[in-house]
Amino acid sequence: MLFVELLSNLLLLTGGFFYLAGTVGLLRFPDVYTRLHTLSKADNLGLGCLLAGLALKADSLVLALKLLAIWPLTLIASAVVGYAIAHRADRLGIPAWQREKP
């Protein structure tokens, strides 16, 4: 029992770390395409860890399954929205950031 609790807390903390990474990326990345990455990759990984951690704490199987069902939904949704926004940004001619060559 103690092991499960430890694992759950570890997953929660890992989730928090990925959220932090996502926020740092959002604050520091140079253009809209890269910023889309942080939301659809790091944040969703954080959410996945969080949901897994909480599912271990759930009282019932139904609750745990419901928690785990949220993750694929957000994955699909954020992938599609990220693509739709990037697609439109590209059509509008917003340039992608490029590293300056020395």
């Binding site: 939904l73 699909i76 949704a77 992938a79 599609v80 693509y83 739709a84 697609h87 439109r88 059509r91």
Partner: protein
């Protein structure tokens, strides 16, 4: 305890900040996005206030319908996005008399808030006491459809009136999508069946836990909007009679049941034995009817060669 307080204080600040941004930002599209953000923050507030029913409705309507309606309306205004006078109008907030009046209003409201006595009637206890005879075990549903059923009846009438008003004002013409990519229809094909499933779940859940006809209808309406955005569902025309039928049917069903019960006593006084069944019947009818009504706010359009198209072009 302090963590909880910090959480609530930050949430409150964010809510006020997003509300201020909605009014103060010069560009209209940005204002609408900030309003969507405001609605989503409000969902978190309702969750914190232990009101999951309201949080469900706010999430479904705010994320699915209100935001889309507002974003869509913006495209009708082919004017420069930034209202030229906004800076000056915003300065009105800083003008002394207006600011003073608003500050006085805020101070008056806040002081009266802290001085209000506790209510004389203990409503939660009254609801809990009558819950057994209501036919459902979730108190909010019991209030909505049994104890204050006429509220809900009139609300359905208001929705119908709003739709009638929109039809009377005239519908804008349909516009083509700015860009379509293949992923959005894929998303719609996988998400819409799940949304319908979620709506059924919410409808069923309403009897004994947070959920019910309104939340289910909001989710269904959002599904219709998503179908339209992925061009799997064309816009509805006001000449399509099934829309009028379905939209009217919810109110008719409700009024019919109310009239049938009138003989037995008061308006919408359900006999305790059949209350559960009647509420389920009303809720199922309402879900479909409300969903079509809500979706029609967004989906009803005249065909692209309609009268409005020409008028809009003349102002470009």
């Amino acid at each position: 305890m302090t963590t909880a307080l910090a959480f609530e204080a930050l949430l409150a600040l964010l809510l006020l900040w997003s509300a201020w941004q909605t009014l103060a930002t010069p560009q209209m599209d940005r204002a609408v996005i900030m309003f969507i953000v405001f609605g989503l923050l409000l969902t978190l507030v309702w969750s914190r206030l232990q009101a999951p029913d309201i949080a469900l409705a706010e999430a479904a309507l705010g994320a699915g319908l209100t935001g889309t309606l507002l974003l869509d309306a913006l495209t009708a205004f082919r004017q420069p996005n930034r209202s030229a006078k906004h800076g000056r109008v915003l300065a009105a907030f800083r003008r002394f008399p207006a600011l003073l009046a608003l500050l006085l209003l805020a101070a008056a409201l806040l002081t009266s808030l802290t001085r209000l006595p506790l209510p004389a009637v203990d409503l939660p206890a009254a609801v809990a006491g009558q819950l057994g005879s209501s036919g459902v075990s979730h108190p909010v549903t019991a209030v909505l459809l049994n104890f204050r059923g006429y509220d809900t009846l009139l609300e359905v009438a208001v929705l119908l009136l709003a739709l009638t008003g929109i039809l009377a004002v005239g519908l804008p013409a349909e516009r083509p999508l700015l860009s379509l990519n293949q992923l959005v229809p894929t998303l719609a094909r996988s998400a819409v069946p799940l949304m319908v499933l979620a709506a059924f779940y919410l409808l069923w859940a309403g009897a004994h836990r947070p959920g019910g006809a309104f939340q289910a209808a909001a989710v269904l309406a959002a599904a219709a909007v998503l179908l339209n955005l992925s061009q799997l569902q064309s816009r509805w025309l006001p000449t399509q009679h099934w829309i009028r039928l379905v939209v009217g049917a919810g109110l008719l069903l409700f009024v019919g049941i109310a009239a049938a019960l009138l003989a037995g006593g008061g308006l919408l006084r359900f006999p305790p034995g059949q209350a559960g069944l009647l509420i389920l019947l009303i809720e199922s009818g309402l879900t479909v009817s409300l969903a079509v009504n809500l979706a029609a706010f967004y989906l009803l359009r005249t065909s692209s060669s309609g009268q409005w198209a020409g008028q809009e072009d003349s102002h470009e």
